[in-house]
């Protein structure tokens, strides 16, 4: 602060300050170290690991709109599902199974749907928006159910055949290939999301979330800005869906279900919104817990998840990562 008082130092200090906002922290290496270590330490759990990575991408896409732009939705599975069916149908009906391009096609389908639906949905807010996002996903699911010829309806889409990755890495028994593939896709999605939130565009989203009236007042085309981030988010959800279809070689209506929309919201709230890494922690904790609890008690695992959610929203308001931050701030404040 005092540096700014120095003559001529103002701009340099200001630029340094702005650069500091987006500087990397050493702790950001942790999730990647864990992901790589898990590959070697838990070779029997790579199938679960892959599903966790996909869930993280999906939760990350939700964080872009919920955590940064303040768009609350109960229908985000619409874009995940659209991506899954897009990728799946490309293979099942057109015989195209090249995994990278097929996944990108899933992202494209999610993005287009996000743009079109977002254009309408984002004219509303609050409870109305919440109900409309919910309705969108329900209608899409019923549409997929009715279009049985294309989607397989209630029985699911079969006949998905994915070619070896990069022409040589076969889909193997322990899913090593898909784990690595999903991890690379997550890394790229994360880098993109990080870039987006630290752009002037990202700052304006935070402004919209914080005080939309003021943003109108500085000339922000609020609707356009929200549609843009909604489209980016939907495309990322579509990528996750595409990856999901490929790794399972099977798509059911479940990808569009309300449960999936709710679960991704729970994951993100669990980890903490508006911080990107909340998606990592939330999705991993949720899915590992689900797996362990289901082993303990196949009937009651959901009770455990529910209990955890209650504890988090009551006592760790800002999610696991947010609470960690608070704890650190408090211990530093106490030590000073």
């Amino acid at each position: 602060m005092t540096e700014l008082l120095d003559n001529g130092g103002g701009s340099a200090a200001a630029r340094r300050f702005m650069a500091g906002r987006e500087a990397w922290h050493w702790a950001e290496a942790l999730p990647w170290v864990v992901a790589v270590a898990a590959f070697f330490v838990f070779p029997d759990y790579l199938a679960l690991g892959t599903q966790i990575l996909i869930a993280i991408i999906f939760a990350l896409s939700l964080d872009l709109i919920l955590g940064y732009a303040g768009i609350i939705t109960l229908g985000h599975a619409a874009y995940f599902g659209a991506g899954a069916y897009g990728t799946g149908m490309l293979s099942a009906h057109l015989g195209w199974g090249e995994p990278i391009s097929a996944m990108l096609f899933g992202g494209f389908v999610g993005g287009v749907l996000g743009f079109v639906s977002g254009w309408v949905l984002l004219r509303y807010h609050g409870l109305t928006l919440l109900m409309l996002t919910l309705a969108t996903a329900i209608m899409l699911k019923e549409g997929a159910n009715a279009a049985e010829e294309w989607t397989g309806g209630f029985d699911g889409l079969v006949g998905i055949s994915i070619w070896p990755l990069l022409g040589s890495f076969e889909y193997d028994l322990w899913g090593k290939t898909y784990y690595c593939f999903a991890l690379v896709v997550l890394l790229l999605c994360f880098l993109a999301a990080r870039r987006i939130v630290h752009s002037a565009f990202g700052r304006s989203l935070v402004g919209i979330k914080g005080n939309v009236g003021r943003m109108h007042g500085v000339g922000t085309p609020v609707h356009g800005r929200l549609v843009a981030v909604y489209t980016l988010s939907a495309a990322m959800a579509g990528l996750a869906g595409g990856l999901f279809a490929e790794s399972n070689a099977y798509v059911t209506l479940d990808v569009l279900s309300f449960a999936r929309s709710g679960t991704v919201l729970i994951m993100l709230v669990l980890g903490g919104t508006g911080r990107l890494y909340g998606a990592f922690v939330g999705a991993a904790v949720y899915m590992i817990l689900e797996d362990e609890l289901a082993k303990l008690s196949p009937e009651f695992w959901e009770f455990g998840i529910g209990l955890l959610l209650v504890i988090v929203v009551l006592f760790f308001r800002r999610g696991l990562l947010g609470s960690l931050d608070d704890l650190r701030a408090r211990s530093m404040g106490g030590g000073a």
Binding site: L4, A13, M18, A200, N211, R214, G217, G219, R225
Partner: protein, 250 residues
């Protein structure tokens, strides 16, 4: 010459309340125009109608001679119309610098780019620093807004608005709530506004009004009851009865 800002027979109802009645205002470039009136007269509502935050039931708003009544708020801002708020509308967790940078990035079109780092927009940062220096806020540039004394926060409110480089500036009680020991910083900032901007200021403090304004409009119950130079208004018996007499400070 066409007026920088003009309203023609502007009218607005809130249910049964006729909050704006047949308001005709005209500000030339460089105008220093005060809008005064008792609490609840409809001053803020008038600003909301002019900026497009509310849409009028009747009448028109013209910017530089062009009818903007149908344009959304953001488009009017792009045409040079900016305002401050009676109650601070700040991003209080962000630094002063970032509050202003959000506004400038929006004006220069940088905020539409989701791939360029905010810290790479050096022209935005430099302009923000310059603007803060001009308002003597540079010492606070890196401080979160919520940690600022209230008077400085009111100044940030003005700084964000000036980031738009407006041609027409609407100030809604810029000194409201500022302790008198600090009010000079607001006065100085207002006195230092670029000359060519047309300024409409709402203010209850008659010192500020009479020091600043070349022309005064008095609003009561939504309608204009008097318009004129400060001397004319000060001498107007009707105005005294409705408004000035209350404070007893003129």
């Amino acid at each position: 010459m066409t007026a920088a800002l003009q309203t023609i027979a502007l009218g607005k109802h809130f249910g049964a309340l006729h909050v704006t009645r047949q308001v005709n205002l005209s500000l030339a470039a460089g105008a220093r125009h005060a809008l005064i009136g008792p609490n609840g007269a409809g001053k803020t509502t008038l600003i909301n109608l002019i900026t497009g935050a509310l849409s009028p039931d009747e009448g028109q708003v013209l910017l530089g001679g062009r009818d903007v009544t149908a344009l959304p708020q953001a488009r009017r801002v792009k045409q040079g119309l900016a305002r401050t708020y009676q109650i601070n509308q700040l991003f209080s967790d962000l630094s002063v610098l970032e509050n202003v940078a959000i506004s400038i990035a929006e004006r220069v079109g940088a905020a539409g780019n989701f791939w360029r780092r905010a810290s790479a927009n050096s022209h935005v940062i430099d302009e923000a620093v310059e603007l803060l220096a001009r308002l003597k806020l540079d010492a606070y540039a890196l401080t979160p807004v919520r940690e600022l004394p209230y008077g400085r926060q009111r100044l940030v409110e003005i700084a964000i608005t000036l980031g738009q480089k407006p041609t027409v500036l609407l100030l809604d009680e810029p000194a409201a709530g500022v302790p008198s020991a600090e009010s000079h910083i607001i006065l100085d900032a207002i006195a230092a506004l670029p000359e060519q901007i047309a300024v409409l200021i709402i203010e209850h403090d008659m010192d500020i009004v009479f020091r600043f304004a070349k022309f005064i409009t008095v609003l009561a119950s939504g309608g204009i009851i008097a318009q004129g130079t400060p001397e004319q208004i000060a001498g107007d018996a009707h105005v005294r009865a409705v408004y000035l007499g209350q404070g007893g400070d003129v």
